[in-house]
Symmetry: C2
């Protein structure tokens, strides 16, 4: 069991309207094969889709992309950090609005519908090359409890996003009741190690994991998002405490009023 990951060099700077399937295919170091998986940094998709706003409008852009504020933290001398749930259900800082690798004076928003973008790119590349490839769009996110960031999948097409082992057995025959590795996120992380942040290599080819490649109508990365009502960490601890405090205070006052009356 062995696979390799290679960064694709030599892609041009991506402009709005760019045909990513054609540009990536042209930049390939070797012909694609069935079962290859392309992991594409979502920023180049944002650029191709013209998802760029002026840096001055960053805070408004975050607000516009936000469905729900999950937690906030003040930054001495700067704007507060906002951890939010965005349109895509993804929880992260600043709703994915980011200045790095964006054109000067601008910030990039996430693609409108990363699963649809992944499907369009996969369809284009399958058509151009004849190879049954999978496509993931990745983004870089912080996470609770652990320092640093990892890349995760925000879009997927033609890739099984989970290795669903529920109902299968471990090496000794015991059932793997709750095990469902998130292949898509693991692949995004694996690809980050060759793409890097500073290198300007936005696409990597994963070769040798064809067992995770399938039809383009497989569930996308949206299926990785856990609905907030089933999430134990759907709100920051301080925010949840404050909500509880107000509710408890009001309840005690109401009881007091009733008793006094």
């Amino acid at each position: 069991m062995r696979y390799s990951i290679e960064g694709i060099e030599g892609l041009p700077e991506i402009e709005a309207g760019a045909d990513l399937a054609a540009l990536i295919t042209a930049a390939l170091p070797s012909p694609l094969e069935d079962g290859d998986i392309l992991v594409i940094t979502s920023k180049v998709v944002s650029k191709a889709e013209g998802r760029v706003v002026r840096a001055d409008d960053r805070e408004q852009a975050i607000t516009d992309e936000t469905v729900r504020v999950v937690a906030t933290r003040d930054n001495p001398g700067g704007v507060p950090t906002r951890i939010v749930e965005n349109r895509l259900g993804i929880i992260g800082a600043a709703a994915g609005v980011d200045a790095s690798n964006a054109p000067e004076g601008t910030v990039l928003l996430l693609p409108i519908d990363p699963d649809a973008s992944a499907r369009a790119i996969a369809t284009g590349i399958r058509s151009l090359t004849g190879a049954q490839v999978g496509v993931l769009l990745s983004d870089t996110l912080g996470r609770p409890w652990r320092e640093g960031q990892t890349d995760i999948a925000i879009g997927a097409a033609g890739v099984h996003v989970f290795d669903d082992l529920r109902g299968r057995s471990d090496a000794s025959g015991k059932p793997l009741a709750v095990t469902m590795p998130c292949v898509a996120d693991e692949l995004a992380s694996a690809a980050e190690l060759v793409k890097g942040k500073a290198a300007g290599v936005p696409v990597a080819i994963v070769r040798g994991l064809g067992r995770f490649v399938g039809d383009l109508d497989l569930p996308g990365a949206r299926s990785i998002v856990r609905p907030a009502d089933r999430d134990m960490f759907r709100q920051g601890a301080d925010e949840a405490y404050d909500d509880g405090y107000r509710a408890g205070f009001d309840e005690a006052q109401a009881e007091g009023v009733l008793r006094d009356a």
Copy 2:
């Protein structure tokens, strides 16, 4: 930029007291090279260290491994899920106490000190092979907000656990102010894709990322853990709400008592 990951097959079942450095070295498909990184499933380290208890003692073992309860959730017909901070500072379900791939009738605990275990194994393998390799110990964890699990690093030796880009620039020259990819977690995830849960392949070799390999006294995986007092999600939302509710209720009552007095 290219790297490969290969699962090491043919390792024997690991018993308490096993010399993992020697067993892994003997099972290698090809000689190790400077810059190779071995990603070892922590379960085999637990087995070698005899970190096994009877399955009947699982709930007590979780309690013993727990430093702080972060969140709990009832499971209809079963024992409640406990998300806890364990001795190592790692937050996860059941303090890492796990029955899969454990001997029949038993559960495995995490290694006592995974960074020390990684260092001992790296020292042994470097001594046996002469190759300056890095070693990571991995475990499988769920995470907030996203379904499924990914592998993360709970032990590290001779590997830069972060790719510290703070102060460096992106491809267009803009500073990458807060970017610090967690290489160790990304490597653990990348290796999971060949090790799998069902395949009984507990070790993988990563080849081609020697730039992340360094001295054995580099900070270990413990340095990835964010202290709870700096974490916005240090407690489950329900638990934080309940704590706040009680505090608010008590405060309103105390004020009422003062007013009445």
